[in-house]
Each structure stands twice: as C-alpha cells, then as structure tokens.
Subunit: 258 residues, 4 copies
C-alpha cells in the first residue's frame, strides 16, 4: 500500500470538480468543499475521504486533464489513448512527434513506451516549447523524452517505430517523417477541419499505405442509478484522426488471379 | 530494419480486406487479390507491395481484429484502448481481469504492462478458457499473463493496481475485487445494456468512489480526397463502460466551509 | 412579397445571436449589434439587412426556440420535427397530447395539422397550463388547439389519429390513450432516462404493436468554407423517443408456413 | 374507424420485416411469416393481427421506406422530416425542388403542404423523372405536385416560400433559385461530401444569409425491456444538410452601437 507523502501529487474530487495538487505542508487547499489541510493526509493511503473531499492517486488522465498547463489546444485523452495503440506503441517503442504543443500527447507517449522506450518531440514555437518542457519535467516519470526546440527537418539520427504529426500543415513533413520511420512504421495525425483531411489525402499517396480517417466520440452518462441517461451536453469535435503505414517504393512481382 | 522471416505474422491488405497470416513456406496464401507465395517475402522488409497486396508488420489492433479467435463477443479496440488508460495501466502495472472471454483485452493488458508487469485473468467457462489460452499462447509477446480456469472468488494472493470485470453480473464480484485492489486502484467494467448500468450504479456505492459511465463511438471516413465523407454505416454500440476507484471505508475528519 | 407591418413578429439575427421580437413603433430594439428602430422596417420586405442586423420572417423553429416562453423542458425541434411525421400527422389530422408543458410541441402539431385539423392537449399543472395558453394564443395561427387544464382520464369525446405522451410516468395513460386512438393509430412518447424506457417497454405489451425506441442527434457545423468542421460542443441528449401503433386485441386466424 | 378495402395499401409487419402491399383479392402475400390471404382482411379495421403478421395503415414513413421505388439514393425520413420544418413548410406553402430523384422528398413535401399547397419539382434525367412520376402517381394523396422533366433554368413563373436542391453541384442553381424565392424564403440542400459543403459555403455568400450546416443522426434501440441497448449497427451518414435564407441585396442604414 502506497501512502501519501510530502510533494506527492494528489487528485482531489468534490462532486464533479477535480483538482490536481501537490501536497504542501504550509499551504492548505481551498476548494468548493472547504479547506483541506494537507498534513492530515501524510502517511495515509490514497483512496480516502477527507471532509467532503475524496483523495486519489492521480492517473494519466488526471494529469493530462488537470495537471498539464495548456498554451495550445491539447490532444484529449479520448483521442490520445486511441492514437497510442493505433501507432502500436508499447514497452521499448521509439516514437517521434512533430508539434509538441503543450506536451499532453508527449506525456502519454512517454507513459506507454516505458523507461526503455524513447520519445523525440519537436516544437518550433519557443513559448510552447518552454511550456511543454515544464510540463514534461513536472509530470514525466521516466527520462525517456527528448524535447527539441527546432525544426524536425534538421534532424537525421534515428529510426522510429512510429510518428505523430500535430501541426496545421502536416503534409510539409510527410517526406521527412517517412525517412525517419522504420519500414511498415505507423504515422498518425490530428487535424480539426475536413479541408485539411482533403489536403492530407491528396498528398499522402506516395510512400504510405493503409490510410484511415476517423473520429472518436465520447459520450458520458450521469451516474444516478434511478435516472440513467447521457449528460446533456458533450464535446462534439476535437479533431479528425488520420493513420497510415510506411510502404516501400518498389514492389515485388507476386502472382495474381486477376 | 526488421525483415520478414519464416513463421512471422504478417498483415496482408488488399483493398478493404485484411488478413493476418503466419509466413509458411509450403502453403501460399489465396485471397481476393490473387495468390501470394510467402517465399517471395522472406528477407524482405515489412511495409512492401507484393502483387496486389500490401504486407505490413501486424499491430496490436491487427492481432485483436484479425488474429484472436473469437468464441465470445470481444472487447473491441475502440473500447479496449480507452480502458487501458482509464485503468492507468503502464510499464510494471499489475492488473486482474474477471471474465477472460476470448482474451482480446487480456492480450491488450499484457501489451501495455510490459515484461515486468502482470496480468491475472479468470475464466469459469472451460471452452472459453481453452480458446483464450490458445490466443494468449499464440500472440502474447511476454510471459506476463497468468490465466486461470476457475472462480476469482477462490483467489487471495495479490494486490493489484487495477481490475476489469467483463461478466453478465459484475456486481457479484465487487467485494472480492475490491479486496484484491490496492488503495485508490481503478476498477473498469463493460456491459451491453442500460439495465446492467442501473444495477451496477445501485450496488457500487460502498467502497468505491469517482464513478463514471460512458460510451466510445468510432466513426470512420472514406479516404478519397475528392469525396471526404463518413462511411455509410458504423458500429452503433458495443457496450457501456463504467469506471470507479477504490475508496477506504473510514474517513478523515477534515475542515469544512459548509 | 410580404412586407413588414406593425405588430408583426420578426427574427433579428446578429452573428450567432437570434432574437424574436414584435415590431413596435414606440420601443426600439437594443441588442449586441446596436439599436434597431423598428419604424425603419415598416413597409420593407422580410429578408433584409438593417445596420448590423439581418431581419427575417420567423419560421416555426424560430418561434419554438426564441418565442415560446419555457416553464418546462420543451420538446426540441430536432425531436419534435421527427415526432410529427412518425405520428403521421398531416392536413386534417386529429392528435391528442398528454402533458402540454410549455406548448412547444402543441404549437408544432397545430402547425402541421392545419386549419381543419385538431390538437387536443391536457396539462394538469395550473402554472404550466397558463403559460402554455399564453404561448398558444401568441403564436398559433389557426384556431385548431383545444387546451385543457385537467386530467385526460376525464376525457371521452373523440377519436384521434395519433397521441403523444410527455409526462414522467407515461404508462399511467396507456389504457386511456389507447381508448381514444383510432385503430392502427400512432402513439409517441419522450422520456429522459433509460429506466423509463425499460418501464414503458414492460408495460406497453398489450394493445400496441410495432414498438420502436430511438434517439435523434443533431450535430452542427461551423460555416467557414476554408475550415469545415463540427461545432466544438453539441447537445448530447434531450430524450429517448418511443413509438407504437394501436393493435386490436383479437386476431384473425391466418395461414402460416411455420 | 377505417376498414380495409380492396386496393388499399397495407403495412405488413413480421418481426423486424416490413412489407408495403396493395390489397389484391386474387394474389395472396407470401412472406417470412407465412401466407397472408388478403380476403381475410377485407372489412376489418387496420391495426390487427392476422396469423403471425400485424397489419397497419401505412404512415408517410412506411411509404417512403417501403413503397417508393428507388432509382437514386433517396432523402431518408430522418433528414426529410427535418428539412420540411427547417423550410417552414405548412398548410398552403409553395415549395420548389431541384432534383426530384426518386420523389421521396417530393412526396413528403406534398404531404406537409396539403391540398392547397404546391410542390414544383424538376428532374433532368428522363429515367429518374419517369420513375418519380410513377411514385408520385401511386402515393401522393393530393393533386399538389407539378413534376417537370427538364431544367429549372427554363422556369420563370412563380414565387416560392421555400426551395430544396438535391443535385451534385447545387451552386449552379443558386442564382436561379434565389430569383424564384420570396424574400426571406428558405433554401435547403443535401450533399454527401465535406468537399461539397466547402464549395457551397464559398459560393453562397451573395443574396443569402443565416447559413447553417448540420447532420442528423438516428440511433435505434432494441425493444426488450430487460435489455435496453442501442442496435449494434446504425446508418452513420446519409448527407450534410445546409440551410440559408434569401436576403435582399440592398440594406437599410440602421443605427449602430459600434
């Protein structure tokens, strides 16, 4: 059983409010459910009620939703979770990200590839780079993230199992990213508009196959047993997800029935 | 660069058809795109065209969708991907599953917890257990799955970071699973009907907090650049996902503003 | 061409704001787009720009969304439009409504059955009855609505082509409404929770056939040509719609292949 | 009470199968539920069981889904119902349709505008025109449909309350249709692709205001009380709906706060 110590992150839940906070002995927490004196928690287990609050050990989703400081639109968990597996990320994978943004997806990638995996991420905008750097330093568990302030076009070193592009004009990077991908490696993208989907589909033809376009919709329900029903409102759109796999330019002859 | 060898699994794509096959020198593949002689592939890289086929290294999703032999309704990737992260699974996690079914989610769990993680899964039905066992043996990369033919009620050993229940009456296992979970550990469930959601919400009150109910919908698009539009039909329902976290029975006093 | 006259209703549009107002010579309109002096509009056609506003002749939807004064949750246009046709309403139809609420659906029914049709509607709650009465008086074009403050249980007179029940416990009225329906006549209902759907399905077995349950979801898009994409948020749930048709209690013998 | 007579249309329901048939004394109906001898039904009321079948009076939706002979993709009820009200159609309305197709929406328009309304519809393709003509003759109740084999560009006579365009390139008709619309009159369109939405939004700027783009999704549920859940699959896409209103080209000065 893990107990709560000083400087630990805790998720504090009060009704439908959630707060991600660091345990600090000198500064109590003031929220809608009253004052929470952190010293009460030291040495206790996570998963405990304190006054009107519930205190949990934060999950990846808690950190993305309530910890990561956003200076850009982030890739939301519903999309990020799906992306990780579509890119076939796992223990030891090497993944490259073009467009770090606030680092939410970078964090998720770090999480899934584990201590022996590698996440290389590029951000051109200095302000976003600095913010992402702080987020990564604050939340990433393993030293597996290599964050660059610069242009992926100047990068040549490695071979990656997978790549993700999250910029306004992903097509600019198709050739470059393809050169950094291992054979059969997966490429993912997220774009907000159907116009960008059109543009990507026009330009992705060479060197990539098995193209897919999709949306993930998350519909939450109220949790009153006697009144099971969806929430009144939902997020209707974050972005269109696109996936493809690297394909060699030459091809084997093969037999054919046709 | 990884090359294709005998007995490797390959994903064979022809238009919208996908086949997951083992490379066998004596048996060619017959599909809609003609005959594929596997010996042509040996020593070549993945991500290659051969005749009318594209040949890729299989991803987790390919294996779940085209490899796992189904004797039960499986947890589909759109749901399974989401579950893994909601349960906060990562490198080293320990997770228990009640209701192995065909082992699709077991396989996904094994994948995300990595070689040093642990997946313990229980299946009562002998026929399903045997089928799941074959699936696990065939596809799981690391020896991190402990599959049981029997009832989780008779299991006492371990403490788990997370649990997933996929049976008709999940509430039967609430107390047992709670006793196997670490403090603040996450519980997930999937059920097909709203009636089961009601029943779960009625019975989950003690010892669990932060309850959530949701659906994940996946909407695929056609990939013709000049005609961007959703597919005509989609999967409308697989199941309702429910999540909760273990909460201690006693509570700290805490201050209160109210 | 219809011109704008005193006391006409006009829809005033400014960016994404919409206002439904009566043309009054002594009181100008103050909105986000500035002051609108109604006398400028008199004798002009609808469909005109005035300063930063666009002025249109109100549609049924405009009146429901911006005219009807709401003291209850109304049946939204996306659902109401669908209900009208599922109930097979048209010129001359006779429809009975149990639970007038604010009269939004009553208004829509009046609209579709036309001057020679008939809408009979019952509301038990005096406060809602009075509000609905005002809405009906203000907006209904034809004298085809017969609004009752009371219980439909005390009503015996007529035979209706269709019925709609919008109350918390619709099953209370199944027998009564059935007795007021013509043979093969359609029954519709709307309920917010899955628990009510269950209850209705249990109790609707006798005397009704062809039962259907469904949801209508409306997803709006932004209208910038270069950035076609759904709105960020949408209404996720208003209610479950249920439909059935009256079935005789006796049955003809019929042949059978089975 | 209406009774079934020779040559009446009846809806025959057997489990989830539906058939729309004309009552013919010499030809019995053969379906999955056995043989149905129509003479058994004569003089009986609609809404009756006969052997394993249920017999209902057909609704508008039944006719569109099971009666209209389709030579083109039709506008489905979920969309058509919505369109009728968005176009503000009612008793007496005059509506023009460009692209009759199979006449499903024409039929719906006829239905809602009633015996004193008017539906003018143009179809260029002779084959579709002939098929639509048969559908209209067979199912339309009132003589309010004026079907043209030809190009709406050659039409000048009337002023319409509303217009609907259902062709591949709706923008070709924007000016023409605008000239046939009354001031403030509503224009609707349906197109299958996001590319067409982009094109329409680029070209619709002059002479139209209050532009809206949307999708209607219909999600059906199973009807077993103990197992309330959505159907496994659903129609994911029929088309994007677009609406606008005619706006005068000149504008009044108006005051302004800005």
């Amino acid at each position: 059983m893990k107990t709560i110590g000083e400087n630990d992150l805790v998720l504090i839940v009060y009704k439908d409010k959630r707060y991600l906070k660091k345990v600090t002995l000198d500064k109590p927490f003031h929220g809608k459910g009253g004052i929470l004196t952190f010293s009460d928690l030291i040495g206790k287990s996570f998963g405990i009620r304190c006054g009107q609050y519930e205190i949990y050990e934060p999950t990846i989703e808690d950190i993305i939703m309530h910890g990561i400081r956003r200076e850009t639109q982030i890739v939301f968990p519903k999309d990020g979770f799906f992306v990780c597996f579509k890119l076939n990320l796992k223990h030891n994978s090497r993944v490259i990200e073009v467009g770090t943004g606030s680092g939410a997806l970078t964090f998720l990638f770090s999480h899934i590839v584990g201590p022996e995996g590698m996440v290389v991420s590029f951000e051109k905008e200095e302000r976003h780079y600095k913010n992402a750097k702080k987020n990564i330093e604050r939340f990433v568990e393993w030293g597996n993230v290599d964050l660059h302030h610069g242009d992926v076009m100047d990068y040549f070193n490695d071979e990656f199992d997978a790549a993700f592009i999250d910029v306004r004009e992903p097509w600019i990077y198709f050739d470059k990213v393809r050169s950094l991908l291992t054979e059969s490696g997966s490429l993912g993208m997220i774009v907000p508009t159907a116009n960008q989907v059109t543009e990507i589909l026009m330009r992705l033809k060479d060197g990539f196959g098995d193209i897919e376009v999709m949306e993930i919709m998350l519909r939450k329900y109220k949790t009153l047993a006697e009144r099971v029903r969806p929430e009144d409102r939902m997020v209707a759109h974050t972005g269109y997800l696109l996936f493809a796999r690297k394909l060699s330019e030459y091809q084997l002859a093969g037999d054919s029935l046709e």
